[in-house]
Amino acid sequence: MIETLPESIRALYPFKPNWVKSGNYRLHYVDEGPRRPDAVVLPHGNPTWGFLYRNIVPPLVAAGHRVIVPDHLGSGRSDHAIHEGEYAIAHHAARLRQILETAGVERAVFFLQDWGGPISFGACLAKPGLLAGMVLGNTFWGAASDFHRRVYPWRGLHAPIAGPLLFGRRRVFIDGAKLGMPKSSHEGAVWAGFRLPFDITPGPGATLAWPRAISLGPGHPTQPLADAIWAAMPQMDVPTRFVWGASDPVFPWEEQGLAMQARLPRAREHAPTIVKEARHFVQEWAPRQCADALLAVAEEAFSRKVSHGR
């Protein structure tokens, strides 16, 4: 757990910390803007934390929205677990739900990127009515992409023995996040911000558990959740937009993007924003486009609620 951020990082991420107790652990989340039951929720993936949204929170708050940015267990300012099993995706989803319930959030517009997708979908499956809208960017539903099935450059990185060494002590995967970010994020206080949670903890945190949680098929612990998300997608009748990095080898638009666009009922109402040069962490390449898409979805999602008198 990180009680206080270093000054140089707090200058970039100046949001007041909020904490919730979940089992034996303390989880951190940012909660900015007016305390309303409608909120824009920005869950991160791997190996990042809420810091990834530092440039997206301000325009949303300026537009009058409540914004929640959780740090999952093992990430950001939250505690780290001891055993890999505690990082199961269903547990992450339950903890996200707990954060939102503690904050009094009843309806949420989500930004779904990387594991932020399956974790948020999982939270919404267990709480009907929570999902009010979504912006999808370089995400999936828990089942492996083509990239994830390859031994090189993926499965070989997090396999037994090599995984704890490279993700934990050697921080290879954390540094590898640079390959998904623009060069401007590779140094100085920005990069120090991304590395901070991993520089002060001895183990790999959630970073090693997450790649192993990607389902490779039947029998995998994440497969039931991935199946449930996939089955529920056609019923997710909420405002939906895409902001997608087109230069991401992990989740190519032609694979995950098109599959979800065909599956989600309102995914074709607006043309996707395809950011040509953006790689995996699309929030870092195109924060303004991400914020604009969230503002458009939130306006529709939350005003629709008012206009329908619900």
């Binding site: 031994v151 070989g156 023995i161 704890p164 060494l165």
Partner: protein, 93 residues
């Protein structure tokens, strides 16, 4: 320690036996219980601990040995190439 040893790895690690020696001369006890693997350095209780980097070199060598034993797509060359690929930002990035 690794909490999540995949089945194909468990068989290969099991074939290495309960003790594995690195080229550095240091030896490690390998204890595999279900999906959990513990790799413990054998040393005299009064001896100084090796530097963390030296241990890391041994563990990378162990991982390479396991990958080579697995065969197919898995190999020590692949692992080394992979580490390089994840830690090097290309010039033309």
């Amino acid at each position: 320690m690794d909490d999540n040893v995949w089945p194909e790895f468990a068989r290969t690690i099991g074939a290495l036996g309960a003790r594995w020696s690195a080229s550095s001369g240091r030896a490690y006890r390998l204890t595999l219980l279900g999906k959990r693997l513990e790799v413990a350095l054998e040393r005299d209780a009064l001896a100084a601990l090796p530097a963390p980097d030296a241990i890391d070199e041994d563990l990378l060598e162990l991982a390479c040995a396991v990958y080579d034993k697995l065969g197919g797509e898995w190999s020590s060359d692949m692992l080394k190439k992979l580490v390089g690929a994840w830690t090097t930002v290309p010039e033309d990035y």
